[in-house]
Symmetry: C2
Subunit: 346 residues, 2 copies
């Protein structure tokens, strides 16, 4: 029963300690073990790229009333694109390229159910885009802007964390869909320059070097904000609320500034009068609710990519052992574009 069959090895990154405040490298450990093999109906995906996602943070605190805790010792959740290397499922033969809810690991066993699909054959689309602008971040931007924030041509759009993969996509989609004005807030001059010169934002504001951010937003958007596409959290929403226009909409896309805070540390949204006076609508989203409509969004975004109207900055890390570093940096604002980690050959 033991030791007679040589098995593949795989690696994964496990949570070793529940995070307090910002996640740190010592909260994680890379572990090596025998790679699993598929049973009937299953297949094995050899991951090529894994994502690190700020939203993952909410499951790393030991659980609260909003998010179940990830069990200690288990691999971290995330998205992956890879190649089927063993299969007992005729729908997914060996060699099939897929994107899926894979996680921080080099191999997963999949059944074809849940969040998994074959990578469509579109020439000129790099594989990593399927966990980027054509993956969860891009889909979050698309459904957050169009379905949740009910974007319409002529809207004035303010995007926060704008150089991140969700924000950059949301701003470009707004621009491509007839926004009157798209302004981004980001954390470095390099990011701001890229937003304006490459991504086509009308203007970008470096929140780290702007002494009076309120005044800078008001100056850039003197007529106010129709859509706030927010990836930051309560303090940012509180700041922008008084600048919202009549019938303005706030998409709560992410809360990266709040994920590391205890309830006592978390800022509150005080400026709520505009909910009535300006009929503000505020809503959050989890993109998987819109799974049935993913093909519509992916088709539109792939077309925009082909026309050069949707660009994504990518930061690539090499090796699964770099995943904790790539993740922890998200909370220091170090990321510029989508962070993907290459964990296997294409």
């Amino acid at each position: 029963m033991s030791g007679t069959i040589m098995t593949d090895q795989m690696q994964h990154v496990a949570l070793t300690t529940y995070c307090e405040g910002a996640p740190k490298l010592s909260d994680f450990a890379v572990e090596t073990k025998d790679a699993p093999t598929p049973n009937e109906g299953q297949f094995r995906v050899r991951h090529v790229f894994n994502s690190v996602d700020p939203g993952t943070r909410s499951r790393l605190s030991g659980g609260d009333s909003y998010a179940a805790a990830l069990p200690l010792g288990k691999p971290i959740d995330g998205f992956s694109v890879g190649v089927v290397d063993m299969s007992e499922n005729p729908e997914y033969p060996v060699g099939t390229k897929v994107f899926c809810a894979g996680g921080w690991r080099t191999h997963t066993i999949q059944t074809g159910k849940g969040f998994i699909d074959k990578v469509p054959e579109i020439p000129g689309i790099p594989l990593s885009l399927w966990i980027g602008v054509l993956g969860v971040p891009g889909l979050t931007a698309w459904f957050g802007l169009k379905t949740v924030a009910k974007f319409k041509a002529g809207d004035r759009v303010l995007v926060t964390s704008a150089a991140g993969p969700v924000g950059a996509t949301a701003g470009q989609l707004a621009k491509a869909s007839g926004a009157e004005q798209v302004i981004g807030i980001a954390g470095s001059d390099t990011k701001c320059k890229w937003l304006v010169e490459e991504a086509g934002f009308d203007h970008a504001i470096n929140y780290k070097t702007t002494p009076d951010l309120d005044a800078a937003i008001r100056e850039a958007m003197p007529k106010g904000v129709d859509v706030l596409f927010d990836n930051v959290g309560n303090a940012m929403i509180n700041r922008v609320m008084p600048m919202m226009r009549l019938n303005g909409r706030i998409c709560v896309s992410g809360q990266v500034a709040d994920y590391n805070l205890t309830p006592e540390e978390t800022p509150g949204i005080v400026n709520t009068k505009p909910f009535i006076t300006h009929r503000i609508n505020m809503q959050g989203l989890v993109v998987f609710d819109f799974a049935r409509e993913f093909p519509i969004a992916l088709n539109e975004m792939a077309t925009l990519i082909g026309k050069g109207e949707l660009k994504l900055k990518e930061e690539r890390f090499e090796g699964i052992d770099k995943m904790p570093e790539a993740f922890c940096g998200l909370f220091r604002g170090e990321n510029f574009g989508r962070r993907v980690v290459k964990v296997g050959d294409e």
Copy 2:
């Protein structure tokens, strides 16, 4: 030109001092002057009942970025029902009963434009209801529940300030429309008793005597809240947010606890994680946005009143000089139902 024609006298209540904190009697003065007479196309309404409305408070602080200040010395805004007593407008002959944006006065000149309409001839509906359950409070409840909060049969509904005219109407409309459960929060045992025994709420909680309000809400609504119909403000929304169910909706109908507070004093909404985890939608309303659909709502509510399924508690004050007293009491939670002030004969 002067002094040869005897004119009627009228009275109004003017703001004499901008309010700081809770409004007080000395902020107001009753003034007597010659009643105006209509020019061509105009008509004069002799008010019978005037309303006092908590939302008026936002214009009595000298103005901020959300609400223009009411000029000192001018009559206060409000709603009125009355009878045309002079007319140069054939659409509104003398004797026509109307409800309108009249204000804290005994007579107004109207043109037939803006918020004014003839009182429909429905037997058995007292005149004062047209500034109550069939006026702005009732319409706010109807559109807040059905259009803003997208109420659907089977929802579990929590109503705050539930014995007020908006809350009591919202709860009864929810019950009449197939709510699974309707719970009210109010400020006295008498109000709670009325909510359950007369208005048909499933349960009511006295927030003033309940030591642990969170626990009491959770016990009354163990499955959570689909619709929070809130008339109170940020602290209440923050409290209920962790109890919201998936795809829950919050109608920001009023903010009576926050109107008297400075920005520094105002509590914030900290518990915003459910916006994402539970896909919460939060929206405020100003009922006049729905003016085109008022007839649909009024017809439905008049039918419910006829069937005894929509009851409204009314507190009546006599004489225009009682308007400041009626208004100031709103902010001490003294009101139980709709406060109307009788300022003229029917």
